[in-house]
Subunit: 338 residues, 2 copies
DNA sequence: TTCATCAATGCAAGCGCTTTCATATATTAT
DNA sequence: ATAATATATGAAAGCGCTTGCATTGATGAA
């Protein structure tokens, strides 16, 4: 391995001088700078980042940790990160926590925050991960947490207005003439699903719509069970809904499958709405475009990075941001006016 | 920041001893070990990875660099990486090269290979990136290159048999009774598309099938132009194909859109095949499941990591592997027997 | 001419950890 | 009891870089 020492020797200057030209300090004479640069090129020298990080306490890189990076849900978010780092002097590295395993998550965060990155952006649930929350609190790096409003954490928070998102969804259905609107909820342990649920409930109430018996379904395990919940809804003895709002598009895709399998046409026989406006859906979903509530994930990804870059470059350690992003309706082909 | 020194002081032992318990060396007495461990926990100490990397010349992490990480194409590959690292002592970090920009790629590779990872897996084209190839050749890290058979590079290579994949595709179409089979080629500057094209050409020849005038279409720019190429094919004055083989699923999805827009039913009026068996497709594709040639991307991801972990753990620096993976046919709903 | 100032460079400490080697103590064999 | 061996620990060098401080020579002011 070729080191700075080799370059210094070859150039007949001190380590310090080589370091100066590498770091583009201006107090080096033109001739020396040129010579050193030439030799660096000739020898194909590259600085060792571990040594650099140790000496400077800076790495010029930002870490991102998400659960299941392979999940198509992250598509837009990742694009945002990729884009955000463009034209900055920073690099981004991604870590994936398989299955959202808490220990793995903790270990990745500790890894990153101890000498490998200058700041980290976190997506995923952390409410219940006491250790991690405590760790983050005690660490003096810059963080941005996306969709994670943990009070005891004093860091950048980028949130999405899930509550009003659901309200938009319900009001869209109402505007299309629906009154019997059922809901398939996601895992109620997750903050986003609670917020979306509340949005639904309040929107229904505020518009004087009655939620019939059986109109509220909760997915068990994961989105797959959206299928059976839809079957449940369609088999209701009493009153059948004319529209079903789902907590996310993955669930909606399953609900649509269920409707098809029951011989129902979407949206002619039943209207279905999703949430997330996922660019790509799991399981080779091939149904109609789902009418959905979209979140500005690309922008959020972008701004996460921009925010951190700005804070790092300007040594802003303590003026954190808290921002709530609006959602918007994207009309697909799964809601009919009645 | 709390360091090993603090722990040593508090525990009344030397730095060396603390280092030993952290690294689980066995030559530390039980009492001392316990005490040190307790104090580490109490103080919430975490070792600095930069310092460690510098001292050990090992980081226990593997780097992955791909173009456009957000591309749904990587879905299965990423799952493979995630899975491969399970139950090992290694971490994986992902770097995304937006737009496949050569300079950015080079900078990420240099970054990773100088003190941040122990090995790297590369996916993307490198044939023409002389600098990078040269750099990799001169660097003594372990690499695995996926789908990149660069002769002058002596490293692990995991390849896919694109040529025979195309042959399988053509033979499937033949077995379904097709004789007039057109082809929409991908960017002929990319190795995979050349191989696939050759497979098509040879399969046609070997089966004594004639390739009519106009049956070969080349996409310009990217997969989007698959749309117009399909229109071209369907408007052929002379003879019209009964089946169209596309160089990948993204192109096929566009071809299907084109067929629809021309009022043709797939597969009743025209059969279409893709290649890649992409789990998720771009642009909210909502057509029928595409009959396609699948690649074992998950396995390739998995094995990339396993290979490297094995080589790192056993200090195998020089017995590299070269493996060619088979493809397989996945029947969808876009090919009709005639 | 002499002194203050400045630009260019080198010296050396230090970043936080690992590891070799030496040392001291405990254990076993004789 | 003594020598030989094993075990537990510490001292210190070193990993490759950055940076504050000191030094040198040159430049300009007085």
């Amino acid at each position: 391995m070729i080191t700075m020492k080799d370059i210094a020797l070859e150039a007949g200057v001190s380590l310090a001088t080589v370091s100066r030209v590498i770091n583009k300090k201006d107090n080096v004479s033109a001739e020396v700078r040129e010579k050193v640069e030439r030799i660096i090129l000739e020898q194909g020298y590259n600085p060792n980042n571990a040594a650099r990080a140790l000496a400077k306490k800076r790495t010029n890189t930002i870490g991102v940790v998400v659960n299941n990076l392979h999940d198509p849900f992250y598509h837009d978010l990742i694009r945002g990160f990729e884009d955000g780092v463009q034209n900055t002097s920073y690099k981004v590295i991604f870590c994936s926590v398989l299955g959202g395993d808490v220990d793995m998550k903790e270990s990745y965060i500790k890894y990153l925050t101890n000498g490998v990155v200058d700041a980290v952006v976190l997506y995923g649930s952390y409410q219940s991960d006491e250790n991690i929350v405590k760790y983050i609190r005690d660490t003096d790096l810059n963080y941005v947490m996306i969709e994670n409003d943990i009070k005891e954490l004093n860091c950048n928070k980028l949130l999405i207005d899930n509550y009003n998102g659901s309200i938009k969804a319900v009001e869209h259905l109402i505007s299309m003439g629906h009154r019997d609107i059922a809901y398939i909820c996601g895992n109620p342990n997750k903050k986003v699903f609670v917020e979306r649920l509340n949005g639904y409930l309040n929107a229904m109430q505020n518009n004087n719509m009655h939620i019939e018996d059986g109109f509220m379904q909760y997915t068990t395990t994961d989105y797959h069970s959206g299928y059976e919940k839809m079957i449940n809804l369609m088999n209701l003895k009493s009153k059948r809904p004319t529209a079903v709002l789902c907590a996310d598009d993955a669930i909606a895709s399953k609900a649509i499958m269920a409707a098809f399998d029951l011989g129902l046409r979407v949206p002619d026989d039943i209207s279905i709405m999703g949430y997330d406006n996922q660019t790509v859906l799991p399981d080779k979903y091939r149904g109609p475009n789902i009418t959905s509530i979209a979140q500005p994930l690309f922008e959020i990804g972008q701004e996460s990075i921009q925010l951190l870059v700005d804070q790092l470059d300007n040594n802003k350690r303590n003026d954190y941001i808290r921002k709530i992003y609006d959602t918007y309706l994207v009309e697909g082909e799964t809601v009919k006016s009645i």
